[in-house]
Symmetry: C2
């Protein structure tokens, strides 16, 4: 039976989603928990997105095929009791055998959170603290440049082996949260490595007045990573949900 | 020169505010940072409230007397560069020599945060996760019982040596935060050890339908800790601010 799981996690203490030798990752923790529930038989886990080190998820999606017969509700409870308290299954459901968490995905939503106000130690792992002024109005206009289908090579780190960096972004906007925070919302069919953090990085540069919206367009069209600016830190990034 | 500092901290990794032998505390960290800034001379630090292990602060108040002459702005910067990233000075100002952070305080505000929705791993250290239903409407009415001047002995842990448990609560209310969270707000001239967490504990018992508002009144009047119920967990509690 194939199960679709929705997973929330605090990425602060993990080396990202994907399994790496001798590193603690979200995938490793999920696999161990699934193995315990599945009569000690290891099962491969497919994930919708490979979040990087310290990146969080509110709605990562994974699918697994289990040998046992278990209701979604009981599976959720069993997995959560075997997971550390910074990883939590928020939803489980049975899906068709030809459902695939990556190929069946219609879109993904990432959010990047930035704080322009006083530093708050309670949020230190959950928001990018930025201590200077930003021209949010210009950033709100410029973020629209990313909408549509583009070759995002200028915003992809480690792109040497990437044959295809063409992706479609269906939503790109900035919204105020509370008194001093802003979230950058990106929705699209797929995202490349560091793409969201690189897009946020260049938008911050624009918000500092160092480049214009026209410059941003040219950088996107250049397909040249060396022009694409800095990568925004991991702690502000959230994989919010995957739409099927 | 006497300085008043406003301090925010994530209490998760500390054994509370107050110095204890061989334990890491907020006070210890503050003293070390102040010593570095004050020509390596140790200075006593007075705090408005002694928060317990894992309790947070958004606006703890402390005062110090420094030998050096430094502007409040520079003091804030110097201290923050010597503090760990889970403790942060949010404000500094020069005060009169007879100002005292505890005796001059007009009131203190504590907030207790509870989540009735799905567990969120990102908030695990910052909110009390409660997985059952609560009758919030009845709790909103019952919390008013605490308003006014009372002997709070029934809600004070370790009260054997306390001659005086009479305190005045000027505000006590419950407010919805987002979709599934509630905050309990308590304002008063002073609070006793575990008092807020014990008041929240009994209100949860009431929200579960186990006691009525009349029972709560009787428990308060009994001045008997054995009748006062359980202490709500530390992670939901915040010292929000101190009014002068």
């Amino acid at each position: 039976m194939r199960y679709l799981l929705t997973v929330a996690y605090d990425g602060s203490n993990y080396c990202g989603y994907q399994t790496q030798p001798n590193k603690d990752t979200i995938q490793k923790q999920l696999e161990e928990a699934v193995q315990k529930v599945n009569n000690n038989i290891l099962k491969p886990i497919q994930a919708a997105g490979r979040t990087d080190k310290k990146v969080h998820a509110l709605g990562q999606a994974v699918h697994i095929d289990l040998d046992i017969n278990i209701t979604p509700y009981k599976l959720k409870r069993a997995l959560n009791s075997n997971l550390p308290n910074d990883i939590h299954i928020t939803n489980t459901k049975i899906v068709d055998d030809n459902f695939h968490v990556r190929y069946s995905a219609k879109s993904k939503r990432y959010v990047y959170l930035i704080n322009l106000g006083e530093y708050n130690p309670i949020e230190r792992n959950y928001v990018f603290q930025y201590n200077y002024k930003l021209d949010i109005k210009s950033m709100k206009k410029a973020i629209k440049v990313f909408k549509g289908t583009h070759d995002f090579r200028a915003f992809v780190t480690e792109n040497k082996d990437k044959a295809n960096c063409v992706r479609t972004i269906t939503k790109a906007s900035i919204r105020k949260i509370g008194k001093t925070k802003y979230e950058f919302i990106f929705e699209g069919t797929g995202f490349l490595r560091y793409q969201v953090r690189n897009m946020v990085g260049i938008l911050i540069k624009l918000g500092e007045g160092k480049i214009t919206k026209e410059d941003l367009k040219k950088i996107l069209e250049s397909k040249d990573r060396t022009k694409g600016g800095v990568t925004a830190p991991a702690e502000g990034l959230y994989l919010v949900n995957v739409v099927y």
